[in-house]
Each structure stands twice: as C-alpha cells, then as structure tokens.
Amino acid sequence: MKKKQYISAILLVFSSLFALATDGTIKDEKKSGDLKSEIKAYIRHHLEDTHDFSIGSYTTDEGKKKHIGFSLPVILWDDGLVTFFSGKLKHGKAVHKVGSKYYKLYHGKIYRTDADGTISYDPNKKVTNDKPLDLSMTKSVVTMLFTAALMFFLFRSLANSYKTNGSIAAGVGRFFEPVVLYIRDDIAIPNIGESHYRKYMSYLLTIFFFIWFLNILGLSPLGINVTGNIAVTFGLALLTFLITNLTANKNYWAHIFWMPGVPVLMKIVLAPIELLGVIIKPFSLLIRLYANIQAGHIVLMSLIGLMFIFNNWLGSSLSFVLAFAISIIEVLVALLQAYIFTMLSALYFGFAVEEHEEAH
C-alpha cells in the first residue's frame, strides 16, 4: 500500500517533467538555437500568475501549441462589472468582445483593445492600451482558495477531534498539533510574552500554515507560484504591519517618536530612523518571502531546463541529480520561510506590546 503511494507520488513528479520534456524536445527539433530562450520564457511564464489554470502544454505534430488545463473566471471592473471565462481569450490569441469593448490578454495582463486586438507602445516599449481593473480569479487566487479550504477542513477536524476524542487529537491532527504547540511555545510566547501572546495566536497560526501550504503547493508539479508573487507577500506583510501598529501600546510609539533615556537632540535624530524602521520591518518580510520562493523556483526550473540543454546522458543526469537535491532543499525552505515570516511577525508584535518597567 505504502509502496503504491510512493510510486504514484514519483509518477506525479515525473509527469510535470514529461510535460516540459515534450515541449522542449519538439522545439529542439524545430529550431535548436531557440531552446534557451524557450526555456527562459517558460520559466518566466511559470513564475507569473495566469488567468487560466494550466497544468502543462504540448505542441502537436502540426506545430500547434496545445494547453492542458481549465479556464478560470475573469472579473474586470471597466465602468461596470465585466465577467467571462479566461478560455475566451485563448491565451492571448483572441480578442474577446464584451458589450462594445474588446479585451486581449497580452503578457499575462488584460488590456482593452480595438476589434483587431492592436497593442500600441510608447517609445519606452511600454504598452499604452487602457488596463481595466483586473479582479480575476487567477491561478493564484484559486490555489489560495483551495489552501484556505484545506486549512479550514484540517484544523476544523483537529478542533472537533478534541471534543470527540477526549482532549486528544485524532487523525491528521496528531501531526498538526505539535506544530500548533511549537508556534505557541517557541514562537509566540518567547517573542510576545505570556500576557499578550493569545490575541496574536490566530494570526500567527493562520499565516504560518497558509505560507507553508502554499510553499509546498508551489513545489508540486502543478506549477503554482503563489508565495513567490510580490502581491501576495505584500498582502501578508501589510497585515503584519497593520496588526503591529494597530495593537501597539504607548510604549512602542514613545520608542519611535520620543526615545526615552537619550538626549533631546538624539531623540530628534532617532525619530525618523525609527519611523523608517516601522516600514522597513514588514517590507523586509515581503521581500524575503518573495525572493526566496521566486529564487527557488527559478533555480529549480533552470536546472530542469538544463537537462534539455545538455541533452546527453552525463550532463542531463547531473542536472537531474542537482534538481533533485534542490527540490529537497526547497521542501526545507518552504517550511523555513513560513517559520521566518511567522517568527518575525511575532517579534514585531512583541515590540508593539512590550512593557518597559524601567527606563533605558
């Protein structure tokens, strides 16, 4: 039974490689000099959020590119709500008409165009077409919704198991309970303190598991890159920033604007520095998570891409071994980044509620 699970897991991993493999080799036969840029484009495309949930793509013998996946709802605000399925855009190959307006997907973004789908540029090669407010349920949104549902299911069942199993976790909760305890005992309490930690626990637990699960999903062959998206990490860091500053006590603000225990001149010098620190702290959070996950994906996919560039036994197997090793490290990074984000959030909350008994 266990063996079967292993085999299916391995198959799943390889299936994504095969998807890439067919893509690469066929292109290789067609025009081998283009392979590098092809892989580069593939990686770039993977890192971006997309309007459809693509699992893979292949090129038919006629040289036509076929995408495997499904459409997702596109939601636009363009003087009114505009909704349609992303399949209508045909991966940027078609112009979709809604009412009197035409929309076209161009480099992962939806622009308003004329009936022919003309994209115009300014001298800096920037697109000048109008861009409606895009609130589409993209691949990342769907993945986040899935993660949220998964988390709700998992932790609801853990919470229920305490009631039904006499205060002892049952099932998958047995795995997650120690993690919850770890976050409480080794992240929240030491950083925030015994008297204040409780009100931050929900947030810390939520972001920890949210980031962790999304990082792990990012390593799945589905080609998801949610936590490596700057909008997502910005949203998370913004929440940490808001919670820190909205729950901060007088002491925290005193330490920022009028540092106690230093000469008046120093107080004036320190205030802008401290104020900058308030913004830099969450900013470092958002950049750290984004950069780590983004870099991990780039390295991993580049190594997989190398297999097709080498295209021989020695080089390709070497890059495979490297990609395999990096994959294992990425599993660790997935957990580590979730831990660091949670840990630092807890640390900032700790600053916000710290009570200073003595002036220093």
């Binding site: 993209t138 949104v141 986040m144 709700f152 932790f155 919470a159 205060s167 929900s202 637990l205 949203g235």
Partner: protein, 165 residues
Amino acid sequence: MEKLLGEFSFGLFIWQTFIVVGLLLLLRKFAWNPILNAINDREEGIRSALQSAEDARAEMQNLQADNERILKEARAERDGLLKEARKIKQKMIDDAKDEAKTQAAQIMTQAQAAIETEKQAAVAELKQQVASISIEIAEKVTKETLADDKKQSKLVKKLLKDVNL
C-alpha cells in the same frame, strides 16, 4: 524595481488580503480558539493531576511516617511491659525463696527444739533408770555386805559389770 512593480497585480493583492482575512476570522472562530482552549484545558488538567498525585504521595508519606511512629511506640510499650513482667517474675521468685528460707529455718528451730526436748526426756529417763539400777545395785550390795567384805566388793564389781546402761 519597475519590473517588480509591473508584476504587482492589484487584483491578486485584493483577493489575497480578502482570503487571508476571511480565513483568519473563520479559523479563529472554528479552529484556533477551540484548539488552543482544548490544549490549554488539557495542560491544566495534566498539571492539576500531577499536583494531586504529588499531594497524594506526600500524604502517603505522612501516613507511612505515622504508621512507623505508632509501630515504634507499640514496640517500646511492649518492651516496657516485658521488662516489667520479668521484674515481677524475679521478685516473685525471690519472695518465694525468702519465704521458703524463713519457713525452713523455722522448721529447723522447731525440730531442734523437739530434739532437745526428746533428748532431755531421754536423759531424764536414763537418769531415772540409772537411779533405779543404782538402787537395785545398792540393794544387792547391801544384801551381800553382810557376809563378806571380799565378796561384797566382788559382787559390786560383778553387778557393775551387769549393769547395762
């Protein structure tokens, strides 16, 4: 930096914030609070159970100490009683011995007294007999004296010989 900002998708940001906040509120109500409360209650339970076990152990120890003390006291009392009994026994034996001794002495004195009386009586009787014998002898002697002096003395001698005390 410009590329980074170009990558920034406002829609995704809105969705992400919405999802995380929604998830946070839902999980807080349905998962985190129940989980944390359950864990806290359990820990509290374990702590109090340990405390009561410790208390029970201390009580047990107290009881044991009490038992030991009582046992010791009982043992001491028993020893005391035994000692007393031994003393009494010795005393009784000694008393009996003394009594016996005095009685024996008394009996001895009485016996001696009796013997003395008997002896006195015997001596008296003997004296009487000697006296009567002497009288007899004297009688015979007196009878003989009349004839011969020689014979007289001879007779006395013979009679004296015959006297059987």
